[in-house]
């Protein structure tokens, strides 16, 4: 698998998009920290930028890359290589390149400006979000042979997680504002990795007071170490489940 992985990574790096993405993240991060007067505000600005752009780039680049690897997959499939190895190589190839881009682009300024606890959380959250959206890209790319349809599904999924889901939550909160729904909100957060990541990060920044009573409930749950373990576990499920579904479908695909 290492041999195939090597070819995938070289191929991705030859494609300049990942390098431009690294530079773009670096630009965002440096400007966020130099525009704001204190580091916490800088982290907050950067968090919003990262939670919007990282999922978009990860899901779109990966979906298109998977479709463009059709020939590569076909070439390897006639040789004695297990399909699982081919699919895993693509997944790890994309994961390694995009996570590296994130860590180099955003990681360096974050470590320089923010204090260590916040920086570690930010990088963990960013890395997980990257891998989650790569896994979702694998899921949408295997669902259809049609490239335009696959990319369309990816864009819709991104829109849903990045924008629509928040609107939906807001709508529900207003509709049920007479009921004690704070605990329900914690459960609801598990259905969107972006929101989960945002909550985890906000609690690190001690700005949860701004979220009112819900913020206090969040703090009670996500602030404890058990809550933290559970949330990271759920984020890992967001990687594992879409990827496993795509893998089992790929194993039975007609090439």
């Amino acid at each position: 698998m290492i041999r195939i992985l090597k070819f995938v990574i070289i191929d991705i790096l030859k494609n300049k998009v990942v390098i431009v993405y690294t530079l773009m993240l670096a630009l965002f991060s440096w400007s966020a920290f130099s525009l704001e007067d204190n580091a916490t505000k800088g982290v907050l600005t950067l968090l919003n930028l990262i939670l919007l752009t990282v999922p978009l780039v990860s899901i779109l680049f990966s979906t298109i890359y998977i479709y463009n690897s059709g020939e590569f997959i076909e070439l390897l499939a006639s040789h004695p290589i297990k399909r699982k190895k081919i699919w895993n190589s693509l997944f790890f190839g994309l994961t390694i390149s995009l996570v590296l881009a994130f860590l180099l682009g955003a990681g360096i300024p974050i470590f320089l400006f923010a204090d260590i606890g916040k920086a570690v959380m930010m990088l963990a959250v960013g890395t997980l979000i990257t891998v989650i959206f790569i896994a979702i890209a694998f899921f949408s790319a295997i669902m259809s042979r049609d490239k335009a349809k696959g990319i369309g599904v990816s864009i819709l999924l991104w829109l849903y997680f990045a924008l629509l889901f928040d609107g939906l939550v807001l709508f529900l909160t207003f509709q049920f504002s007479d009921y004690p729904i704070e605990k329900g909100m914690v459960v609801l957060a598990a259905f969107s990795p972006i929101d989960m990541a945002r909550i985890l990060m906000l609690l690190q920044l001690d700005v949860s007071a701004m979220m009112g009573y819900t913020g206090a409930i969040f703090k009670n749950f996500f602030g404890t170490s058990a809550g933290l373990v559970i949330s990271f576990f759920i984020l890992f499920l967001w990687i594992f489940i879409p990827y496993r579904i795509s893998l089992s479908r790929f194993k039975h695909k007609n090439l």
């Binding site: 041999r3 020939e71 004695p80 290589i81």
Partner: protein
């Protein structure tokens, strides 16, 4: 060597392969012929594990091909339309396949030399003509000295000289006792190559016969004539 038993394949509503049963042995050179869309390529891809049949079993040297993919080490496959990563050069493709196969056996570079691939190594796959792509496919199929050669329309798109080189190469390999499975529409090309004929139509296998028997039955001296004779008899 390769045994196909009761293989069925559906693509949606289309029933592409209908109860295909075949036994292919070493040293045979088999022509797989039939009209367009009769399931030849699907059958070949099923043997390679690229298409998974809905029912039935395919075994290679007695072992089911689903369980162990190592059998593919022994197959050289030349696709009808070779699709390769467009931004890689010919040299990179050949190197990559060599590294991924990690074979310790000597490479068979006859065709590599005959087709003068050396001069083309820096060309990107995306810029190649159909014929040159076919040459690359042919080189890759023969490179690892496989026991079985599966050639899907091998001479389509090749210039006459290259087609002749390839034919010579196929005959040479056949003499070594390899199993060769060829599909081709140009029946005249196959005359001096093949020992058996499989004829498929609409997903069904109509017959699997020795060339000698076929010629005798139809009273003709060429395979192409014999097939046409048989098809006419069928319609009458």
């Amino acid at each position: 060597m390769i045994e196909i038993s009761d293989v069925n394949k559906h693509f949606g509503k289309l029933h592409i392969l209908k109860n295909i049963r075949l036994r292919l042995k070493e040293g045979e050179c088999i022509a797989l012929i039939g009209p367009n869309g009769c399931g030849k390529t699907t059958l070949i891809k099923s043997v390679l594990g690229m298409v998974l049949p809905n029912s039935g079993e395919i075994t290679f040297d007695g072992k089911s091909i689903n369980k162990d993919i190592q059998y593919r080490t022994h197959i050289g496959y030349m696709p009808q339309i070779g699709r390769y990563p467009e931004n890689m050069t010919i040299g990179q493709i050949i190197n990559m396949v060599k590294q991924i196969r990690n074979s310790h056996e000597a490479y068979d570079e006859d065709l590599y030399e005959k087709f003068e691939i050396e001069k083309l190594l820096d060309k990107r796959m995306g810029t190649l003509s159909g014929g040159t792509t076919q040459k690359v496919s042919a080189v890759l199929a023969f490179l690892f000295q496989p026991k079985v050669l599966i050639l899907d329309e091998p001479t389509a798109g090749l210039d006459p000289l290259s087609a002749e080189f390839l034919k010579e190469k196929i005959i040479q390999e056949q003499k070594k006792g390899k199993l060769i499975l060829i599909t081709s529409h140009l029946l005249s090309e196959l005359d001096d190559l093949i020992s058996q004929v499989i004829f498929m139509q609409e997903g069904e296998m109509l017959f699997h016969k020795d060339v000698a028997v076929l010629k005798q039955e139809t009273g003709t001296d060429k395979i192409s004539k014999a097939i046409i004779q048989l098809l006419k008899q069928d319609k009458a």
